[in-house]
Symmetry: C2
Subunit: 559 residues, 2 copies
Amino acid sequence: MSESNRTSNIADRTSHIAHPKPPRPRIVILGGGFAGVYAARRLLKRDRSLDVHVVNRENYMVFQPMLAEVLSGCVGVADTVSPLRRLIPRATLHMRDVDSIDLNAKQVVLSPGFLPKPRVLDYDHLVIALGNVTDFRGMTGLAEHAFPFKTLGDALSLRNHVIRILEEADAEPDRGLRDALLTFVVAGGGFSGVEALAEMQDFVRRAIGHYQQISLRDCKFILLHSRDRILPEVDPSLGEYAQRLLESRGIDLWLETRLAAATASEAVLADGRRIATKTLVSTVPSHPNPAVEALADVLKPVGGMNDRGKLLCDGACRVNGMEGLWAVGDCAVTPLPPDENGKPVFAPPTAQHAIRAADLCADNIIATMTDRPTRDFTFAGLGSLAALGGRRGIAQVMGVKLSGLAAWFLWRTIYWMKMPGLDTKLRVGVSWFLDLFLPPALIQLRLGKSRGVAQEHFEPGQNIFEQGDLGDRVYIIVTGKAQVVRQENGHEQTLAELGPGQYFGEMALLNRAPRNATVRCIEPMNVLSIQKGDFTSLVTHLDELRASFQATADKRAGG
Amino acid sequence: MSESNRTSNIADRTSHIAHPKPPRPRIVILGGGFAGVYAARRLLKRDRSLDVHVVNRENYMVFQPMLAEVLSGCVGVADTVSPLRRLIPRATLHMRDVDSIDLNAKQVVLSPGFLPKPRVLDYDHLVIALGNVTDFRGMTGLAEHAFPFKTLGDALSLRNHVIRILEEADAEPDRGLRDALLTFVVAGGGFSGVEALAEMQDFVRRAIGHYQQISLRDCKFILLHSRDRILPEVDPSLGEYAQRLLESRGIDLWLETRLAAATASEAVLADGRRIATKTLVSTVPSHPNPAVEALADVLKPVGGMNDRGKLLCDGACRVNGMEGLWAVGDCAVTPLPPDENGKPVFAPPTAQHAIRAADLCADNIIATMTDRPTRDFTFAGLGSLAALGGRRGIAQVMGVKLSGLAAWFLWRTIYWMKMPGLDTKLRVGVSWFLDLFLPPALIQLRLGKSRGVAQEHFEPGQNIFEQGDLGDRVYIIVTGKAQVVRQENGHEQTLAELGPGQYFGEMALLNRAPRNATVRCIEPMNVLSIQKGDFTSLVTHLDELRASFQATADKRAGG
């Protein structure tokens, strides 16, 4: 059954909850970032009677440059993201993920809400502005153990993690673990990575006075970058200024260094070196949204998608080869006028370009509906800005280069002016003002419970757990190999070797006793781990599972 | 093996990470609420060389009266909780759960941190100030479907949920589901329940302007209370004022009504009535901390614990029958001087009493260590205050009764003065000031993923899912019965009956198709549900499980 058959099937069966299309044309915009929001605003500004729907997973627009601020500032900064309902009050909003897109039937299926019913939207024009998603596919152990840094949730999670690290390190007597706890690694030396590391160090520096057992000298901050200089986005002289500044603050720059893998306690580099750390942030990989990727079969044959899953557009923001389909922002390849030598030029993935392309896209949709000619995209760009923590920054605006306090001040001023809504401006202003003289808030927020079934990665030589540890979870090997060893009278005895499909760790849980052996990784392993509570629920109620686990546990105890 | 044997066993094996006790006496305080924090402060104020350890799950003290404010205000209010490191900078803090207490060995075992190693603390004096925990044991379906309202995490989760409700209701075409979404029920008419419902309504009232399809008239707010009047803590005349005020705002008071059970879509009352709702908050049940409950075997025989798991103390805050053990706050029964008729009187569970008992407890510990006599607890209480949302409140302070705006203003002023730390005072002050004229922030924060294995409760007549729904999880029946029915050519056919230990819902997941039948509850059911992603991970890697699920699915498809 093809994807589009399946979709219309669902739509048929659940038509009672579909949004029926009114006689006037409907425009559906997927994505509530800069591109999606500005397209919706422009459409409704030009004609407030238009039927515009915006689909976004969150009910707010993240002001991306503020993510690093969330890291170092107070939680209140979360109030500074802009609710979509205030930015585009006349659009119909759907706070959902996109489940699938049927380009032939002109339908979008949204993921279910409180009930397991999908929501179906028919459209006349579809604007895809879904940007990128973090996706660690193909990078060993990163999905399991690295922190992404793309959404507000990512920033708050990382902030919580850093606070937890400080709490743990302060009371940790084991020297080696303490050093690993206090090593902070960021992979990726572009804007996002540099800002994340700089603000993280800033936060640690300001918070550390409250921890009796830690000083800043105990902490290590490492930036991994694959090229020979950081911030490839700006002029070399500014990049060098940033480099010197970060180094003078004690941040280690490991240039021409590539991250290869991660475990729960190590960053593994391409040259084989390992860094013991509990905090690895990766800003590197970004992939197309899965709902966009799924369109490859339809769009690649007509020239509407390239091999990296980006939507190929004409100068009017129309996706090639598909009527009624538009794309703006980071998910699209938008041509600019060719350079003086006739070489093609494309819009870089910045907010300034996304905003202007979105406006143009909205104009062109209205032009198409009213049978007028469309216009092509053209915009020269304004410049770049970055904050480097500790009230320093770099700027390159309309040909002028700035660095230090002046650039940081310019950074704040420009972003503050760009923020949508007076109330957001006021909240941010007050928050910034208080931040100048108040210590940072150290609150670790815990929302929700941790995941029941987790994936973990181990490298050879690592112990999954040690004899005598508390039994807090059970493991299932997906790939790789492990060895079960027991310490007795001072020497070590190998009890068994375990491979894919086998599980271990169930004995301590079934018998409520400490681990009676050590399990050590001998070939790189991917495992599923199930937490104690969930494991107990499962084996208590699933007869087959209990019988199987008990039989294995008995065999092992007897053997 | 007894609990205490198991514990010392763990301590022996993991002594390399134990905190060795220095020669000076060590005081360990369990709990970082008012009682624990004030005890630690007093101890270190009297003698800053004391070795004081404080154990708390969070690294902050929640100012309980502020929880309702978190519900209606901006997220920034989270900054107003007080970090323990700032309140008690000279104490050693452990951000951990208490795993177990060994009263004979004088050891506390803390739950593991990043590694599965327990942390062991030896003590000379132990102060238990663990308060209560929310525990819905014995209340059908509440653990699965009701929101507790006790911690900052609870308040933020509830706030996020209410925002999600508004987002869903705004775009929901199904009338019945929409009404259920917009019905908000709170069980418990004490301070905590009344404040929670009042602030929740306040938030909805202020936010609703942003939702095109909802008006306040569509929303229902219901307070369930088992007695004949709310707020039993205050004078009847104030309780009546509060009652009239809430009713005039459109809040329904269902008095002499008891909550009996809950499902994902209903509150079930003791008299059999049902309220269709997606938001049920229960402030009713509170239980002793599990680590305290586990001491029953040791403490009950010596008169140190009653049947409700409360620690029985003498007037000096010493737990009866156990040397070196102290208890303060809501987990303790602390005697006050008897009344004029000689009848025993006990301290009520309020912050004002906890603070003063904690100070006394600290003084008595120092007196014991220096062989001086201890003093007994005596305190008359100051009064009560409650906020009712919409800038109204009630107060009963030193014999004076107040209501309305004046009481609300007094509420804010007194709590503001009580807040520890100048920076907290400033942040709260500014936040309150901005709140007077800015619209509320509508940001729904999503941190972490939802739980892989969940427990759910269903009542007879409810559909677990319906034919044609999206397959998003698999179910295992723990207790109760269900019927599998299929609609064909307009009439319904019963395909099977399912009971405990059986599972259903796997076919849609294995075949990636919509549900091909409806499953309906026919006897009250408790089920485990496993989310799609986790189910897929499990069956892919656990051969036995896959084989078993596949065999059942084949049989059902063939039958």
